[in-house]
Symmetry: C2
Subunit: 154 residues, 2 copies
Amino acid sequence: MQPDVTRLVFMKPRLREHTVTTWARLVRTETTLIDQVQKALKAAKLPPLGWYDVLLELKRAPGGELRQYEIGAQTLLTKYNLSRLVDRLQREGLVERHACAEDGRGNLVRITTAGTELLQRMWPVYGAVLEQQFERRLSVDDLLALENILQKLE
Amino acid sequence: MQPDVTRLVFMKPRLREHTVTTWARLVRTETTLIDQVQKALKAAKLPPLGWYDVLLELKRAPGGELRQYEIGAQTLLTKYNLSRLVDRLQREGLVERHACAEDGRGNLVRITTAGTELLQRMWPVYGAVLEQQFERRLSVDDLLALENILQKLE
DNA sequence: CACATCCGGTTGCATCTACAACTATTAGGG
DNA sequence: CCCTAATAGTTGTAGATGCAACCGGATGTG
């Protein structure tokens, strides 16, 4: 008698009782928090979170510049997505694109003073939400426990 | 001497040492997991996660039907977004729209047999990723701790 | 019951994202 | 060195999302 492949395919993966609900809660909580940040930024007439992420990566980098693929690796943005995002940032004068000496294919993206200024205007808004919706609600132990758990998921 | 408003606006919110890094890790981990699910679904030539969420809500509802705004409340989708998503589901024969007797403005969305079947085809793929990337990596205690922490963030 | 307001839902339009195809350059193997 | 393959980045096009304006139908207040 052959194994019934059909049943295998349709069989529910056996997951622990609370796994799915916790997963759902994780997704729900995270997206809600992100939404709150986005809303706060919009209310303050500031650009979306993606801009912040890219600018921050650049700001942190030595010389304030990175290759595009380096930004992509950090921010989980796809290359085509990033290409156009950098276009927008460039159009607003927040970054500059320079030819890359070592690699003729790529370019270096550098943050401008205007970019740094924008970062400084965005952080208070972003940070305020983080403070109220995230830090405020967690004890130091919670934070450590959460970090420990997240680490296991990477 | 007047208070220096400028300094206040530019002042960094005071966050605990690990708050920001943990937050970053949370976002990163969650989006990575979601990406993995999406990739798995795409590899199996199945529709995106959003379809699953809506269909599941309907499936769980008594009679397999819900008002659109009820779906929206559960899934955190905006109403215009949902309006068009239901259009797509309807076009594929996965749901039906019916006029609502009690409220002449709205409509009832009901899942079809095809919709239920799709759910059953999607779950194994979704669940497999959850099992390997989520459940497998966490102890029962981890899961409880995580649930406890997430609860505080809601 | 008349009126303004609110609410569920849809739609036009602009923006953004996904996918695949493309260019140009670098890297690797015989 | 040459040829192939891999990599960095861009772009055309289609699909999805966000915003604001809109259309009824419901609700509340005088």
